[in-house]
Amino acid sequence: MARIELKNLRKSFGAFDVIKGIDLEIRSGEFMVFVGPSGCGKSTLLRLIAGLEDITSGDLLFDGDRVNNLVPSKRGIAMVFQSYALYPHMKVYDNMAFGLKLASAGEDEIRRRVTDAAKLLQIDHLLDRLPKQLSGGQRQRVAIGRAIVRDPRVFLFDEPLSNLDAALRVQTRLEIAKLHHSMNNVTMIYVTHDQVEAMTLADRICVLRDGRVEQVGTPAELYEKPNSIFVAGFIGSPKMNFLTGAFAEAYGCHTLGIRSEHIAVADEGAVWTGTVVHAEDLGSDNYLFVDIGAAEPVIVRQAGKLTIPYGTKIGLVPSPENLHRFDEKGVPAA
């Protein structure tokens, strides 16, 4: 368990600034997720924390100690890579034991820790196999097992689910969450570009954009009180509806944001009217795409089965307390 502080952390590759001054505190035992579009610097930030990249300027503190110049193996971290990065020529057991062997732990202790971790992840029957004899999901477990064995203060994950298929992804997501609880809430930092993963796993989310922190908060905070159009549009599925021009001016702002579940269909008191141009029925929910004359159709989410046929003209009533009003700069309007 460790409390991690980033103080005005910067990283440039040559003249190219990737991390542009990040201040962030990750609390002890917290599950922190870095989320943002591809190329925004998530992996680089994680690698700075891991010690795989040199910090250009700023401070990195673990439990109050500056660790800028500490090598990765001395930081008490463990990392799970996107490609799993198992040693192809070593059996599962040796993959998991490698770090302990290098730290010259005793034979018995190594055996105990590897078997404990393997049992926890239900891979104890695979210890004699080579990585190439495992499925993607099993490799992922071995990679996590290798991290657990190190008994780290901080777990670092870089998009660990992106190589798995959709069903396995949901299952493994659940197991990572369970792992966090079963390991007495060890500090975990998890990088993803998938906001669903972020929302489901995180205690707190840090949204990154172009090397800067856009917003930090619990999933609910980000969902309900995004402090920029970027975050509002990034978090939540389907995407928040954004209206500009006359639609927004009616509410005294530059851009009006409203989530799909906060719009009701009703002719009485209708604020907007339009035609259903497309509909998606998910069984439990359905999405109506309504053309009200704005740049893009407004998405309306309704519970239950789809009952409104394509081409129907309907009225829409936005819920007044769930409107997000943004000014020209993309931040909430006063």
Partner: protein, 277 residues
């Protein structure tokens, strides 16, 4: 099957047979000749008629030939060992460590291999003399290593570059030093490349003639190619073809055996770019 496809297929196999015959025939003829003695050597035969081991007996009991064989073995093995050690460490740096002038260094290394042996012979001779290596096996190990290194470094650098970066980083997080990464993580993954480059270096050192002739002067320090060239018959005029052929066969056999042992790895080394997994 259409007539034209049949035609191409037959043509293909004829070409294969031609290539095999042309490349194997000289060795085959050497083997045949090595089993003949006396004037039979000068008769042209394409099938084995006699089977006489006298030439082998002569070569192997001759005072220095076994010694020359051992010299060759020692020189070639040491060259392989030394150049692989240097090349593996150098290529790790060239492939994985970011430093200024890396590209220039790679080009320079390649440029070194452009010089023909004869062009550097005089300079190298002075160097060997200066280092006090003249007429020792170390003169040969030294000069062969210089000549195989550029190629070996280049090949291994290419292979090393293809190894996944995340595997190296996983090892770093596990606490591995560069030496541990090279020896315990990369070398096992580079086996095909190591075998291929090692074998090529071995063959180069085993066959080399010019340096071996120049840097050694006594019969007991010579390597096999020089020893064969300097085999003498009973009189000055007589060229001892029988023993020469027997000796040629003897020096070829180790190479054939090595290639057969490692052939799978060689193919893997020449085709596969890296390691998946």
């Amino acid at each position: 099957m259409s007539a034209s496809r049949l035609f191409y297929r037959i043509g293909f196999y004829i070409a294969v047979v031609l290539i095999v015959v042309i490349s194997v025939f000289p060795f085959y003829y050497a083997v045949l000749t090595s089993f003949k003695t006396g004037t039979a050597i000068f008769e042209v035969d394409y099938w084995p008629k006699s089977f006489d081991l006298a030439n082998y007996d002569k070569v192997l009991t001759q005072a220095t030939f076994p010694r020359n064989l051992l010299n060759s073995l020692f020189v070639a093995t040491s060259t392989v060992g030394l150049s692989l050690l240097l090349a593996v460490t150098a290529s790790y740096a060239l492939a994985r460590v970011r430093f200024r002038g890396r590209g220039l260094l790679l080009i320079t290394i390649l440029a070194v291999s452009m010089f023909p042996q004869i062009a550097v012979l005089a300079g190298l001779f002075e160097l060997v003399r200066y280092l006090g290596l003249f007429n020792t096996p170390f003169a040969l190990i030294f000069s062969y290593t210089i000549f195989t290194l550029p190629f070996t470094v280049w090949l291994l650098t290419t292979f090393m570059r293809d190894l996944p970066l995340e595997i190296e980083e996983a090892a770093i997080v596990d606490g591995a030093t560069p030496w541990v990464i090279i020896t315990q993580v990369f070398m096992p993954l580079l086996w095909p490349a190591l075998v291929t480059t090692g074998l090529l270096a071995f063959i180069g050192a085993w066959n080399e003639y010019l340096f071996a002739l120049t840097f050694t002067s006594s019969e007991t320090t010579r390597t096999v190619p020089v020893a064969i060239a300097l085999l003498t018959g009973a009189s000055d005029k007589e060229i001892p073809w029988g023993p020469i052929m027997a000796a040629s066969v003897i020096v070829t056999v180790p190479l054939v055996v090595l290639v057969l042992i490692f052939q799978r790895k060689i193919v893997a080394g020449l085709t596969a770019g890296g390691v998946k997994g």
